[in-house]
Subunit: 379 residues, 2 copies
């Protein structure tokens, strides 16, 4: 463990006993949120940063769960003492959203009304429901205002929604590799992934747990599609090219040629399908598809952002084609027109949408510089 | 039926009783090819054009099969009297390749050695095997030299291979939306499609016909992935945007929102999965993945093209991201370095890879102009 690690961290489970109304019109009678914190909350509670996770993320963003834990949290490269999200300056809060499958209430939880897992009966969620539940947690933690709400992809959508729903409770909004709304192509990729899941015979209309099974193959295919499209053509070319894992191309050979990219994707799909919940995957991709920041503001993002009070930092990556720089520029253009303070950086990076999770010097410098400014502001 | 239609056409089935050696080292003991012709072969048999089909294509490229036939052949917009591939000037030959599922010998045919459908035991094929079987048909038709071999995508790979294998039998090679070899990303999309098929429980290791079933769902997912990636982001945005087919976004609604792009893709998948053979899909995508024009020429396409004698016309489409203009420029650059005559045009088009099949004035003009030059040459 390096000096820049937050070290061993322990997830906390917070139970909320009051029903919460959801945007779909239904209620969750009670729920729990699992979260972790890194770094100390200062005396005036003004240094808290909320991390919003994306599609397959969870609360464990940094550090390790034990001495023998070989894999750190999903954003460990960016969160820690001296790292871009500097835990010697900030108190970082990272939770698993409701609807998730890592400890917070979601489709694998027991529905108290039936005594059985919610499964497909778990309510549809929108980003605003996550914002509301995150705000409940904020109140439990005694935090009045986030120094920053930070998120990539679907997390960036939550960060933007925070800035509109609770404008006086967010000082900075960091929106990484995100969009005001998805394009038809992006929706289509999510839909093919969902179709792979729901057409799996083990899906049982989403009530697979009651049938003691999981739609493993559908989830595996869904992940392969997702993983492939979150990488860039150039990145895959550099890493795998047309290199073979098995077989050869000699004329006269009928043996199974296998490209490295093929076995890599199958492996990614296998691992994911054993650890993630299929209903959560459907629910999260639906929330992505349905998100449209400006829908309730006459479809005008400028009107929408006029409701915010915070400053924004927007980041995109050159080879990200599912949340392309063009989508980030739409956010920036609307913020400028709404006269909101905004900084924007487009990072040269080879790994498509996944770049937001990966080491990249210029990205690290940019995020660090912005957040150091946020830290100075308080003093 | 317009004046520019080739009218009612009748497929012909040609049986080849001699075994043919394949590049995998195995033999096909016998086989048949289904083909159609449009336009008259001239006296010196110098006006024949061979059309090579792509992944899901077949022999029926133009005209109708009956008066009540509502849908013309797959390239009807480009083949006919007065059309870019002008049947008043050329004798056009269009066949279903071996390994196909539209009448030529393929995985759904009976293996004479077992009396059962070939299924997964059908030999692996490479582009060169298609060239060889196309050449057998050429000999039956008494044609000594093609005025042009024309193909899009996988068809363009066959056209290039023709020009290297039988250089004195091809005067012009028209290579549309193709590549010298696939990128890792392109292979990855094919692999996810194949995984959808082979992981379908009805696949039975490729011997589904012997189990009286078909892996319909896997094929449906494969087609959805293919269709989605053969379109462009802009094209999908223009055609579908975020328009809804069902449901609404009102807060308080938990009803099933359905985007138009979703039902469109599902429909495409449904139709395809009822008409195409899964083993053929696997075989064709494998041939795409394995194709590497220059592999046997020290991996140098310049060396490869020095073996050819024909002129080339190369076409790409701006929004085609699976066979992007960059891939076509690699072909053109190698041809220039090999001192082969080559014309190249990059067509502004909104519909991605599918643009090669769709109406487009500039593409029509370019193809027409090139082939009229080919026709004049003979006189």
């Amino acid at each position: 463990m390096s000096d820049q690690s937050v070290g061993i961290v322990k997830p906390v489970s917070q139970h909320f006993g009051q029903p919460i109304g959801l945007s779909c019109g239904r209620q969750l009678p009670e729920y729990q949120l699992v979260y972790e914190t890194y770094g100390e909350l200062n005396a005036d509670k003004s240094n808290a940063i909320l991390i919003c996770h994306a599609l397959s993320g969870h609360h464990h963003a940094a550090g390790y769960h034990s001495d023998s834990d070989s894999k750190p949290g999903w954003w460990d490269h960016y969160i820690g003492p001296g790292k871009p999200i500097d835990t010697s300056l900030f108190h970082v809060v990272s939770l698993n959203n409701i609807g998730g499958c890592n400890g917070s209430t979601g489709p694998t939880s027991i529905n108290p009304e039936t005594g059985k897992p919610w499964g497909a009966d778990f309510p549809n969620l929108r980003c605003r429901d996550w914002v509301d539940t995150q705000r409940q947690l904020m109140q439990v933690l005694g935090i009045q205002q986030w120094a920053a709400v930070v998120g990539g992809s679907l997390g960036g959508m939550q960060a933007m929604r925070w800035s509109l729903m609770y404008p006086d409770q967010v000082r900075h909004c960091v929106v990484i590799a995100s969009a005001l709304k998805l394009t038809a192509q992006n929706i289509a990729f999510n839909e093919v992934a969902r179709q792979a899941i729901v057409s799996d015979r083990d899906f049982h209309g989403g009530h697979y747990l009651q049938h003691n099974t999981i739609p493993k193959n559908g989830l595996r295919l869904a992940r392969m599609i997702g993983h492939l499209t979150y990488l860039s053509e150039d990145g895959m070319g550099e890493r795998f090219g047309r290199n073979l894992k098995e077989g050869n191309f000699s004329i006269g050979s009928d043996s199974g040629v296998e490209f490295q990219i093929e076995s890599y994707l199958r492996h990614q799909g296998d691992v994911f399908s054993e650890s993630f919940d299929a209903n959560t995957y459907i629910l999260m991709t639906r929330a992505l598809d349905y998100f449209d920041l400006a829908r309730e503001y006459d479809d005008d993002p400028v009107t929408a952002f006029k409701h915010s009070q915070c400053s924004y930092f927007v980041v995109s990556f050159t080879t990200d084609w599912r949340f392309s720089p063009a989508r980030s520029r739409e956010i920036v253009d609307a913020l400028i027109a709404a006269k909101r303070p905004v900084s924007y950086t487009e990072i040269e990076a080879n790994f498509g949408h996944d770049a937001f999770l990966l080491p990249n010097t210029r990205y690290e410098q940019a995020l660090r510089a912005y957040l150091q400014g946020v830290a100075r502001e308080r003093n």
